[in-house]
């Protein structure tokens, strides 16, 4: 690779340089970089063009000026794009190592530059490429233009004696091991963040071997649920690695949150001050956020239940906002159809039994739930006639619903995808269970009809003109019989399809893919209607709102986006997760969105203002499944750690832990009445849990909410109602039909 960097090039100086600059080599530039802080307005174009006419280099100048401007305004992404398009190498702008050696070299610019020049000339390739005039702005620019990463990392530049790190750490360890039992568990929380920050400091300050020794000595002491992070950490041994490592960046930018009781905190503080242990004290001050509460210190199990996320526990304030978790009032529907039905029933000799029932239903929904959001908090789409019909169908089916319970378990119908060759990545059922869709690694989406009714396309426009629009069965007539088939393939994505969701009215299907787009498909024409671009990286999950129109998507870019089907740009961006957003779910009242992430937290977002209203920590692995209880009060989450956690949304508390699965849980679903929670996992089992019992008599007073003194009973085995093993089929989707039959789906994996 030819070197592209010609030191500082001004129009005036062009002549000076061009004799030799063309031979610039990498090494020289590095030598320069160290001292010169080269992201100067003058850092110029490719080697070849150095020699070229002044015009070309003027162009370069403007380009660089633009880049500088962008930089100053922190538009780093634009910088990147522009730079890429202009074909400038990364180094042309980056102040490599500037910060680190800044202390030494920052002072005297002139001298340094001379030195730089000497060095260059020694290498006999480059002339001293700068003049005093050019340098002053260089310095300034460099001072201002630290890219984000370096700002973040530079906090580490404080120097301590690397050899003492181990002493400090083990000193603290000894202290914490010697304190009273009740405090020990709480104070032990400090170990992990301290360990990580101390290690990073060592790495940042180029004490490679010390860092390694430090890691080897203490990494074994850390809690086992941090293993994954430690693995990332262990591979990071050089300062250069720190740049661009997202995990680390997160660790640095967000303060690690610890919840410690006041007594324990005082103890720690006194100890550190007595020992004058500034190193540790600084880290605690700068990088940790200690959430102090008054009251009893928490026990080890209570702490373990809540910890495990990438950035510690949630701050208490984070979960204080009021959440309207109640359900929206069901719109009242006058049913001409229902009358017919009743007449029919009358004929059968069942006089009006249904009527009182209906009334009770109606009156129930008339009562305003104090926890429910107001009806128009979020503008929801108007109900169409077809939606009303569907609602009627729903109610009819609901009357035939089976009451489930521990003594009355649901039947499970399993849909196996055969010959999928490990390519099945996502599955969804329609609410009425008439269609099933599968997303595949080969970028296709397939839709099957599971009822005898075949899938038909709408006729072409020309043919549509021919039909009689006045006829009663016009909806039938528009369908093209010739296209009837049991399944349809939707092609359009250019990467594996990871998320899939039917609209509630069954007219649309959403799919999200590795290619960074979310696509909206029509199930009338079986064509793609819209491609929503916004995530630049793989989109892991997407879901329609229960009321239609809105949908949410989340992906590798750590942002969840709220969209409306008729807008090509997102309406809301929910950002705050520190790693990939792996799954997204709408609250039954459509006012909230829950997202699970690889940072091992679950966040609840308010659709109205885009605020994060809840942060749930406690999982020890990336979260892959979420489910709201039908009454909207609870949330269940499943992760790669094989545990299902239950959360009280109103109080922002963990209320249960269901252990039993041995592999990633990919699917969770509450029965229609919320009595049973079904979980499907990679370990080829479907498990049923007694949700009623799990949510019974919870201790959800304000005190526990305030301090996180949760008491989880270890009663998973009592709550487990059934385990159903498939032969060799991971369960990746579950769905309760309107009559409470459980449908499960997965790809047979011989």
């Amino acid at each position: 690779m030819a070197a592209v960097q010609g030191g500082l090039v001004d129009a005036d100086e062009d002549k000076d340089i061009k004799t030799e600059a063309s031979n610039d080599s990498w090494g020289n530039n590095n030598a320069n970089d160290g001292r010169l802080l080269s992201p100067s307005p003058g850092s110029s174009a490719s080697a070849g063009s150095n020699k070229s006419a002044a015009g070309a280099s003027e162009e370069q100048q403007t380009l660089l000026a633009v880049l500088q401007f962008l930089r100053k305004n922190k538009l780093t992404e634009s910088v990147e794009i522009l730079r890429r398009e202009a074909g400038l190498p990364e180094d042309s702008l980056e102040p490599k190592g500037a910060e680190s050696s800044g202390a030494g070299s920052g002072g005297a610019s002139g001298g340094v530059d001379l030195e730089g020049g000497d060095a260059s000339s020694l290498l006999s390739r480059v002339t001293a490429s700068s003049t005093a005039g050019a340098q002053a702005p260089t310095k300034v620019a460099a001072g201002e233009d630290q890219p984000d990463v370096n700002v973040v990392l530079s906090a580490y530049s404080q120097q301590g004696d690397p050899a003492l790190y181990e002493v400090y750490y083990s000193g603290l360890k000894r202290f914490i091991e010697s304190v009273l039992d009740c405090h020990r568990a709480e104070l032990s929380q400090v170990f992990y963040p301290l360990f990580v920050h101390m290690y990073l400091e060592l790495v940042y300050n180029n004490h490679e071997s010390e860092a390694k020794a430090f890691f080897e000595k203490f990494s074994g002491d850390q809690e086992c649920y941090y293993e994954d992070d430690l693995r990332v950490l262990s591979s990071l041994t050089k300062k250069e690695h720190m740049r661009g490592n997202e995990t680390l960046l997160d660790f640095r930018t967000s303060k690690f949150v610890l919840r410690i009781s006041r007594d324990s905190y005082q103890l720690l503080k006194r100890h550190l001050q007595e020992r004058q242990n500034n190193q540790i004290w600084n880290i605690i001050q700068e990088h940790l956020y200690i959430d102090i509460f008054d009251g009893m210190p928490r026990s080890k199990s209570q702490i373990d239940a809540m910890s495990g996320s990438l950035a510690g526990e949630a701050k208490r304030e984070a979960n204080k906002a009021k959440v309207y978790y109640g359900l929206l009032k069901e719109p009242e529907i006058e049913l001409p159809l229902d009358d017919e039905d009743e007449e029919a029933e009358n004929e059968e000799g069942k006089p009006k039994k249904k009527k009182p029932k209906k009334d009770s239903l109606g009156s129930k929904s008339k009562k305003q739930d104090p926890n429910a959001p107001s009806q128009n908090r979020i503008p929801l789409p108007e109900l169409k006639d077809s939606d009303k019909l569907d609602k009627i169908m729903y109610m009819k089916e609901a009357t035939k619903r089976i009451r489930l319970g521990p003594d009355n378990l649901p039947s499970i119908c399993f849909y196996s995808f055969l010959n999928a060759y490990q390519g099945l990545t996502a599955v969804d059922f329609t609410d009425d269970s008439s269609l099933i869709a599968g997303g595949f690694a080969d970028s296709t989406v397939r839709v099957w009809s599971v009822t005898p009714k075949k899938l038909r396309k709408v006729k072409s426009a020309a043919d549509l003109n021919l039909i009689d629009k006045e006829s009663d069965d016009v909806l039938e007539r528009i369908m093209d019989e010739k296209t009837a088939s049991e399944s349809k393939i939707l092609c359009g994505h250019s990467g594996p399809v990871y998320g899939i969701s039917f609209s509630p009215d069954r007219n649309y299907l959403l799919s999200s893919s590795e290619d960074g787009t979310v696509r909206l498909w029509s199930l009338q024409t079986f064509t793609c209607l819209v491609g929503y671009k916004g995530h630049n990286y793989p989109v892991w999950d997407t879901q329609f709102s229960p009321h239609g129109y809105y949908f949410v998507s989340g992906g590798h870019d750590r942002v969840a986006r709220l969209w409306a089907t008729d807008h090509y740009q997102p309406l809301r961006m929910f950002s705050g997760h520190l790693a990939d957003v792996t799954c997204t779910r709408f609250h039954p009242n459509s006012n909230y969105v829950a997202t699970g992430s690889s940072d091992r937290t679950i966040r609840l977002w308010d659709v109205l203002n885009g605020n994060c209203v809840r942060i749930f920590t406690g999982h020890k692995g990336p979260i892959h499944a979420l489910a709201f209880s039908p009454n909207g009060k609870f949330l269940a989450s499943g992760a790669t750690d094989g545990r299902v956690l239950l959360w009280d949304i109103g109080h922002g508390l963990m209320v249960g832990e269901l252990k039993g699965h041995t592999d990633t849980i990919y699917s969770l679903r509450f029965s229609r009445d919320g009595e049973i929670l079904a979980s499907g996992s990679m370990d080829n089992t479907v498990r049923l849990w007694d949700a009623t019992k799990a949510f019974d008599d919870l201790e959800t007073d304000d005190f526990t909410a305030a301090t996180g003194h949760i008491h989880l009973q270890d009663n998973s085995q009592e709550l487990l109602l059934g385990t159903y093993m498939t032969k060799s089929t991971p369960v990746i989707h579950l769905h309760f039909t309107r009559r409470n039959l459980l449908l499960a789906a997965g790809a047979y994996n011989p």
Binding site: V232, T237, E240, C413, F417, T582, G722, T723, K727
Partner: protein, 638 residues
């Protein structure tokens, strides 16, 4: 645990040699050592980074296996051109090469001739994705259908039977509780709920669904019925079906009862069928028979050592059954013998004890020896070889002494050939080379010379081939082909003895001996069951001649003796003979040919020709009633 983890996390770095090799492969020679170190550190770090991202794709692809496409996608995330050409879903074989002080692992890329690809026929189009639904659970109970895993995996069955205490421990208690619950839901089993107080091992219920009952009935009937094709199917089903766990106790009782009854009745064919069922059950990979050995082993042992297994010990080949059962016994010893149940030592004791008894009959003696011999060369060496002299003397007494009875002679003959067969190979291994006849005589007495020749034969054979005494497990090896024809005869000489072993009245009437008035419109057909084996090596065709008593006209059929191990079933149906009146129904002859093993060496006298049997000497229609009245499962244990 911390140790373990630290091990895992110690940072692995690619060797610098790899860097050098790679640099050379792209034309950069003479890379400095420091640069190599720097590059390898950087590369290792980047590779780890990419692997971590690839894992994300694996998780979201809902897979357990990382594929090449995951790596491609991870590279794409980093804005790096993916590696093209790695499409394999399967394991990519890396090859290893060393030379010039370097060790390389590389992926072999073969040169492919385009014309080869073009000319080869297109591979089959892979099947399209399809959707199939089945019931994983019906109201909380998992139905035992092929789509679902077997209700109790073999490991669990094994655990239950070998370590019954463990089952009650908390880990499995939950499952038991669940089962109790789910069963409580269906069968209203009250017991499941009281379990909170007393920790009881849950009763394992073996209720059979209607389908399972039907299946059981069909299978048992087919197994002991007359149609060989059906039997083969039934046995196949027993040997492979994953859902038989629930029916196991019933099968086990069926077999043990069946053996009990049929030994008394000397019904050889049925005993053989039952042993084949045992074999099939043992072959089923999803079943663990430990719990049922108390029923099965006595049945099998009976078939080995019983004094009499057939009606005509001089003609019928009960030896084959003994051999087969002995092999079954050996197999179950191998599979189930543990230090706690001591099956093998108990069985060995039983065999030796009755063998040592002087009064033991030749048949039992044969069984004991066969049973011991099948347990392996070690047993032969320690238990049989020392007794060869004694046994030889006894055989000599029978063979050369005054003729006692034909049956004894046959027995002694069989014992002799059995001993020769089993001992020869063992002796060949433990005795040094020069085989001196005289030496053998002094060592082994009467059997010495014969042993000597056998040993020599074994040695030459071992030299010729790698001595593959490859017994097909399903076949029954018989030293000689024998024909046994049982017929419910006409002659009054058989007396009033009812040939039927089976207590079904209808079959009794069917099979009761008839006064042979041809004019009488007697409905039942006379049946012949011919048990025949053909020597696999015999090239001649065997002619089986059956003379039916009524017509006195022999029905001759030719059974081609194939060299294959499994003989086809031969069914003969002869029309009425010329002397018959028209009112006689057709006579049915059913010839069941037992397959024989192909090893000719085991059959020194394979030239014995099918006997033509006069029906008068025969009686006892064997199990024919079964074919007549399939509904009557006479031995069914319920």
């Amino acid at each position: 645990m911390a140790e373990e983890r630290r091990q895992k996390q110690c940072s692995v770095i690619l060797p610098t040699e790899s860097m050098k090799a790679m640099a050379e492969s792209v034309g950069v020679g003479q890379l400095q050592e420091e640069s190599c170190v720097a590059i390898s550190e950087e590369v290792s770090y980047r590779i780890k980074e990419i692997a971590q991202d690839a894992l994300k794709f694996m998780h979201h692809g809902k897979r357990r296996k990382l594929t090449t496409s995951d790596i491609d996608n991870a590279l794409k995330l980093k804005n790096v051109e993916p590696l093209y050409g790695f499409q394999s879903q399967e394991f990519i074989p890396f090859r290893f090469a060393s030379g010039g002080g370097r060790e390389l692992h590389f992926y072999e890329e073969r040169e492919v001739d385009l014309s080869d690809i073009i000319n080869t026929p297109l591979p089959r189009v892979p099947l399209d994705v399809s959707l199939k639904a089945h019931w994983l659970s019906i109201e909380g109970v998992q139905p035992a259908i092929p789509e679902n895993p077997p209700p109790a995996p073999k490991e669990q069955q094994k655990a239950e039977s070998t370590e019954p205490l463990k089952v009650a421990k908390p880990g499995q208690e939950e499952e038991a509780a669940i089962q109790g619950k789910s069963q409580g839901a269906t069968a209203a089993d009250g017991k499941g709920k009281e379990k909170g107080l007393i920790r009881l091992k849950p009763r394992s219920t073996h209720e059979l669904s209607v389908e399972q009952q039907l299946y059981y009935k069909e299978i048992t009937e087919a197994c002991v019925g007359s149609c060989e094709a059906k039997r083969a199917e039934a046995l196949q089903s027993i040997a492979t079906d994953p859902g038989l766990y629930q029916m196991l106790p019933r099968f086990s009782t069926f077999i043990s009862e069946g053996v009990r009854v049929n030994v008394v009745q000397n019904n050889l064919a049925l005993l053989i069928y039952l042993m084949r069922m045992v074999k099939a059950l043992m072959d089923n990979p999803t079943l663990y028979l430990e719990k049922y050995l108390h029923e099965l082993i006595p049945a099998v042992v009976t078939c080995i050592v019983s004094k009499q297994l057939c009606l005509r010990p001089d003609v019928d080949n009960h030896w084959a059954l003994r051999d087969f059962a002995a092999r079954l016994m050996a197999q179950s010893c191998k599979t189930f013998s543990t230090t706690t149940n001591n099956i093998q030592s108990r069985i060995t004791k039983t065999f030796t004890k009755s063998w040592l008894d002087d009064k033991t009959q030749w048949t039992t003696r044969y069984g004991c020896i066969a049973g011991l011999a099948e347990l392996g060369p070690d047993v032969i060496k320690t238990l049989i070889l020392p007794r060869l002299t004694v046994e030889g003397a006894r055989i000599k007494a029978v063979m050369e002494g005054p003729v006692v009875s034909n049956i004894d002679k046959i027995g002694a003959d069989h014992v002799q050939s059995l001993l020769l067969k089993h001992c020869a190979s063992v002796i060949a291994k433990i005795r040094p080379q020069p085989d001196n006849v005289e030496q053998y005589r002094t060592d082994y007495g009467y059997l010495g010379p014969m042993l000597c020749s056998h040993v020599m034969k074994a040695r030459t054979q071992a030299a010729l081939q790698a001595q593959q005494v490859n017994r097909t497990t399903l076949t029954i090896t018989q030293p000689r082909p024998t024909l046994s024809v049982s017929q419910s005869g006409l002659s009054g000489s058989t007396g009033p003895r009812t040939p039927s072993i089976i207590k079904v009245p209808s079959s009794l009437t069917l099979m009761s001996p008839r006064p042979g008035t041809p004019s009488q419109p007697s409905p039942p057909a006379t049946k012949y069951i011919v048990m025949a084996t053909s020597a696999g090596t015999a090239t001649t065709q065997q002619v089986i001649t059956l003379s039916s008593s009524q017509s006195a006209s022999p029905v001759t059929s030719t059974v081609p003796s194939a060299t294959s191990t499994l003989q086809p079933l031969v069914k003969l149906e002869s029309g009425s003979g010329p002397g018959l009146t028209g009112s006689r129904p057709l006579q049915k002859y059913i010839v069941v040919s037992l397959p024989s093993s192909a090893s000719s060496s085991l059959e020194p006298k394979s030239s014995v020709i099918p006997t033509s049997i006069s029906s008068t000497s025969l009686e006892a229609g064997m199990k024919m009633e079964r074919s007549e009245s399939p509904g009557a499962s006479t031995q069914s244990p319920h």
